[in-house]
Symmetry: C2
Subunit: 135 residues, 2 copies
């Protein structure tokens, strides 16, 4: 199996880390803290992923949820895999706040202006997440 | 712990079945085949659910996904737990089709007119699902 990251995911997200062959990426839209998990597979649906991918993903979903929770910065965690537009399997773990521009709506298809991260801000998330995962 | 179903979930969905203390409900909007799983708990986030609830939910998510898949009627399965509007924990398993009125958008916050099920149509889903789960 050859795996190539979907062009839209490559454009919209930044690589942070990997666990096994699951990539942890962050969406470039800084309005919310939006992680995207991408297992390196050509399967489309959760139910078709290997047990190993499902287990690694669930572990990372739980870890990212705990990471979001311990920051005390978010009112709700949104978890989803949709894939209507980008078919390549990817899983969203998003920290939502009553003060973010999409609240209480969902982030997909919302039309508030994008907010960009600085390189230093992405590095900060990357560093804090690495510290958290190393615990 | 006393559990009372959120009023909005009660209004928007119909009870189909239960597995342990996880309710399987169907959204009244017949534009998509939209299951909603409600574990009888007061926890809000997936990460805070008991291991038993997580295991039962994952089992039902997988079973409902397989149920949707075997109908050959859907182009994509959408899985999500959001909870920005209805805080009570609930999990969406939705059969999506390129011909449904929300495609390729998400169903949450979309404004296409609702389509109602007849009682017979709900009974049919209930019966087919019960048959499938009993396999």
């Amino acid at each position: 199996m050859t795996f190539e990251l979907d062009q839209r995911l490559a454009n919209d997200t930044i690589f942070l880390d990997r666990v096994g062959d699951v990539q942890i990426r962050i969406h470039k839209n800084a309005n919310v803290l939006w992680f995207i998990l991408v297992p390196e597979t050509n399967e489309i649906e959760w139910i078709d992923l290997s047990q190993e991918h499902q287990d690694n993903l669930q572990l990372m979903i739980d870890q990212l949820s705990l990471f979001l929770k311990q920051t005390n910065s978010f009112d709700k965690i949104n978890l989803a895999t949709i894939g209507n537009v980008v078919n390549q399997f990817h899983y969203h773990v998003i920290g939502r706040s009553q003060s973010d521009p999409y609240w209480p709506g969902v982030v997909w298809g919302a039309d508030a202006p994008l907010k960009n991260y600085s390189e230093a801000e992405v590095d900060k998330v990357k560093y804090e997440l690495a510290l958290f995962l190393a615990k």
